[in-house]
Structure formats: C-alpha cells, structure tokens
C-alpha cells in the first residue's frame, strides 16, 4: 500500500504541467505544480510550486534568467491556485506581499474532509496554514492581501454548486455571510469557472462561468468591498462552446471573446451587456 502511495505521489510529481485535480471526483482543477506558477504583480518573478507529495517547495523564479533566487518548504501538498479551466493562475495579492497556495481536499469519502491553504508572506517567506472543514478552493485575494476569497463547494458532481466566502486574514476568521449577488440574492452558485480577467488595481475579478443547459455568466467580484454581481451573458452556446470563451478587459468594458471574435461586451460600471 505504501509502495502504491509512493508511486502515485511520483506520478503526481512527474505531471509537472498538469493542473492537479482535486481529490474528489468531479472537482474542477484547483492547483498547478510546476509550469508558469503565478507571476508577481511587478512581473520580475514567478512563484512556482514543486512537490514530492509530502513536501512542497515553493520557488521564487526570476523571470529573466530563470534563476531560483529564494524558496521555502511547506509540509504537505499545496499548489498555485488555478482559477479557470483555461489555466489562469492566481494567488498573489496586487501589492505583491501575500501569496496563497491551495491544498487539495484531504480525507476519505466517509471521513471528515478538510482543505488547507498556505498563506505566505513574500518578504520573509514565512507562511501560516489556514484549514477549513469541507471542500474548498481558492477564488481571489484583495489587493492589500487582507481578505481571502474562497469557494466552498456544496456539491462537486456533474454540476458543481458552491458559495463564495470571505476570510479575514488579519482577524483570522471566516466571515459568516457568503458573498452573494445583491441584486438577485442567490446564495448558491452553479457552473465551471472557465477564465478570468482582473482589473489593473487587482480589485475586480471577473470570472466567466459555463453552465450546462443555461447561458454562461460573469461573476464580478469586488475584492475590496466584499460584494459580487452575476452578469448573465445572452449567448446561446452549449457548454463546450462556453468553455472556449475568453475575457479581455479594456477601458470600462469587459469583452467576451470566442475564437478571437468579440461576442458580447459588459459595461464594468453598470454591468449592462451588449451582444455583438
């Protein structure tokens, strides 16, 4: 059994490029080992996680030259958060001071499952662990690194259902109320995160979600004010077509693109959608 576990770990490690899927069947890919990691906001370094399975090495790699200038060790398995099926990674606050790495949910089906995150101070490379009961994934972090946004999964089968939650990193407490769209008040969200665009200040995170049997929508999260808006996109696309959509931010608007063509535009102030 131990041998099998070791082999599995080595296979996991060998798959450097692969965004590692969650431990539960059906859970979207949540972390990246190796590869591009996540780029620091100033573009000079990237943070890349490498793992033996039992230990994770978080490396700080110089973008120009590829030298690994600093690194730290974290016990257990954590990776750079993947926030979209297109491989978009995140985890670094806009001020560059806080890096969040996500673990995969641990525990056997009948046991209590927990999910851990490592919150790293990028200056000192010291980290602390934050653990939640249940199946969670990273969603976003506020520009100053004080509020961590997480996805709490309720169901991760064919159509995942989840809530967006906020965790106050300074006060070390989970805010009791989920982050809901104030206009529709829907607490439980459904869909697959496809892609993401972030505004230049790091305050707004626009995530496009695909849905089975419904139109895609954009989840606009204000990471400073802890509020969110769900913007339905009037696109008649099946799920595979929705999975190919991409977002591009430009002055005051969010373009939804498919195969290089803009198919809809969202006004980022009014959230009014125009189909193209």
């Amino acid at each position: 059994m131990k041998k099998i576990r070791t082999t599995l770990l080595l296979v996991l490690v060998a798959a450097t490029f692969a965004a590692t899927a969650g431990a539960q069947k059906g859970l979207p890919a949540t972390t990246l080992i190796g590869g591009k990691g996540v780029l620091a906001p100033d573009g000079t370094h990237r943070y890349v996680a490498l793992t033996t399975g039992r230990q994770t090495l978080v490396s700080v790699v110089r973008v120009h030259g590829g030298q690994v200038v600093r690194w730290l060790y974290v016990r257990g398995f954590v990776g750079v958060p993947v926030v979209g099926e297109d491989g978009t990674t995140d985890g670094i606050s806009r001020d560059g001071r806080t890096l969040v790495l996500a673990g995969t949910p641990e525990g056997r089906p009948n046991d209590r499952v927990v999910t851990s995150f490592a919150v790293v101070d990028t200056a000192s490379l010291r980290f602390r662990r934050v653990t939640f009961p249940g199946t969670w994934a990273y969603d976003a972090i506020s520009p100053d690194g004080t509020i961590l946004y997480l996805i709490e999964y309720e169901n991760y089968g064919r159509t995942p259902t989840y809530r967006v939650r906020a965790y106050d990193l300074a006060a070390r407490r989970l805010l009791s109320r989920p982050i809901v769209d104030r206009t529709i008040g829907e607490r439980l969200m459904r869909g697959w995160a496809v892609t993401r665009a972030t505004n230049s200040t790091g305050r707004w995170e626009y995530t496009l979600y695909a849905r089975q049997g419904s139109a895609p929508f954009v989840h606009a999260l204000d990471t400073v004010q802890q509020r969110a808006y769900c913007v339905d996109l009037p696109l008649e696309l099946r799920r595979p077509g929705q999975m190919r959509l991409r977002l591009v931010l430009r002055a005051g608007e969010l373009a939804v693109r498919s195969a290089g063509e803009t198919v809809a535009v969202v006004d980022t102030r009014s959230f009014v959608v125009q189909r193209r």
């Binding site: 190796g34 090495l57 060790y73 490379l125």
Partner: protein, 277 residues
C-alpha cells in the same frame, strides 16, 4: 561524525533557501536552487533542491522562468560546483546528460559518494554511481559517456587529490589517475579557483591556486582522457590567486588569465605555451 556532517549539510541546504549551500570542507561543493547549471546555449537551466529524503530536480526555461519539467529522485543530490568562484558543472556538451552529486565522507574516513546521471529531456535517472571514499565531480565528456571525478586523498590547507575517469557506458571506474602529460604527475594539489570550458564541452580548463607557489591551469581533454598542467608564471599570494578568472578567446585558441579587468597571462590552447602580459 559522518552522520553529523551529513545532517549539518542537509540542514544547511534545507534552511538556506536562496543561498548557495556549500557544505564541503574539501571541494567547491554543491549548489541548491539559484542558477543551477546550463542556460547559456540551451536556454534551460537545471536546478536541484534538497528535500529531507529526496531531491527535486527542475528544468527552468531561462527566458521566462517557466518550470518545464521536474522530478523527484531519492537521496540528496545537488548540482556540482567545479570551482570556488561558483562555476557549476554537470551538464554534458551535447546537453543530453546531467550529473548530480552527493557529499561524500571526509577524505580518509569511511563512507561513499553517490552520483546520478539524468537524461535532460525526461529527467529520468539513467545511471547511478556509488564510489567508496571521498569524491567530487570534475567534468563530463561532450557525449556524456565519460565522467571525470576528483578522488580526494587529503583535505585541509594543502589538499591532495587525483583526477579519475568513470566509463558510464561500461559502468566502471577506469584504473589509475588521469596523469599530467607534461610533468607525469598523478597527485595534484591546490584549490580550484575558476573554470572555462570550450564551446563543444571537450576541454575543461581549471585554474588552481596554490600556497607559496604560482597558480596553474589544469587542461582536461574529456574526450581523450588526457590532462595537461600549465604553470602560470604569476607572483601572487594565494588569496590573490583566488581572484583570477579565465576567459577563452579567439574561438577557443587562447585562454586569458584575468585579474579583474586586466589580462595577466595568455595560454595558447594548442601548444600550452604561456605568455605573461
């Protein structure tokens, strides 16, 4: 003692994230993280990280810092340094083989030194070499078939050692030392200061500093298993010899010995004639 040394080395490598982690009292040692080895021609650098029971080896793309591939190998290995100025070695001239080394025991003490050879494309271990005694990496032939090692006989202020070769295809240590073709010396002394390697990876020129003697360049032909020791006529104390650097010029035809920005001697790499400048 050996265990204590190994533990200290491991601890140093694990805690010293971001620093060169040299734990060898008798050789330039090994490097973890940082620049690793490679990147000049291939655009890829290979970096090793010591973990508690294993080593992570990563291939990092130099132009954007992407980790293209990584692997975990059992044991504690690092990228070998070949001189005290931090020059790293281990990559064959054809770029296909990567040699990583472990720390061995102190010269004269019981124990073994381990080296592994990885395929740089797959990062799989293709050869494992275990030698009794105190050894360190010196060079590898351009095609990765011959490994050159330093067998340490004595450490301290006046280290003594000999260069040996290991046939990686036949998996055997070649009997006898690589003898200097000029002076017929088998046992060498001095501290490796810096190294220059010919563009094809065939010739490894290592400048050694010596106490109360002039420095010399050890020119190792990694294809023909031949070495030439060339005394460099410079009246410099050993600390100043440690500041010397080598630079190949004229398509590898001359080897400049430099002290900061000044060329102080030039060696003809065909005749090994030395000219002081």
């Amino acid at each position: 003692m050996k265990k204590l040394l190994a533990l200290a080395i491991t601890a140093a490598a694990i805690t010293a994230g971001g620093a060169h982690a040299n734990g060898s009292p008798y050789s330039p040692g090994l490097v973890y993280g940082w620049a690793g080895v490679g990147a000049q021609n291939s655009g890829v650098r290979f970096v090793a990280f010591g973990m508690p029971k294993s080593t992570i080896v990563a291939a990092v793309r130099a132009r954007d810092g992407h980790v293209m591939k990584s692997t975990v190998v059992r044991g504690f290995y690092g990228v070998p340094l070949v001189s005290y100025d931090g020059t790293a070695g281990g990559l064959s001239g054809d770029g296909k083989s990567l040699v990583l080394a472990s720390y061995g025991p102190l010269p004269g003490e019981a124990g073994e030194t381990r080296l592994i050879v990885l395929n740089t494309k797959t990062l799989s271990v293709v050869r494992s070499v275990v030698l009794r005694g105190s050894w360190s990496y010196d060079a590898v032939s351009p095609d990765g078939s011959q490994l050159y090692l330093v067998e340490h006989i004595a450490a301290g202020q006046n280290p003594r050692y000999r260069v040996r070769s290991f046939d990686l295809r036949a998996d055997r240590l070649i009997p006898g030392a690589i003898v200097d073709r000029i002076d017929r010396l088998a046992i060498m002394g001095g501290q490796p200061v810096t190294r220059a390697t010919s563009s094809d990876g065939r010739w490894a020129y290592t400048l050694y500093a010596r106490e109360k003697r002039e420095p010399f360049v050890h020119a190792l032909d990694t294809v023909r298993r031949e070495a030439f020791c060339i005394d460099v006529p410079l009246e410099l104390a050993q600390p100043l010899q440690m500041e010397l650097r080598l630079r190949l010029a004229g398509d590898g035809g001359t080897l400049g010995v430099r002290h900061f920005r000044e060329t102080v001697a030039v060696i003809d790499t065909k005749t090994f004639g030395v000219r002081r400048t």
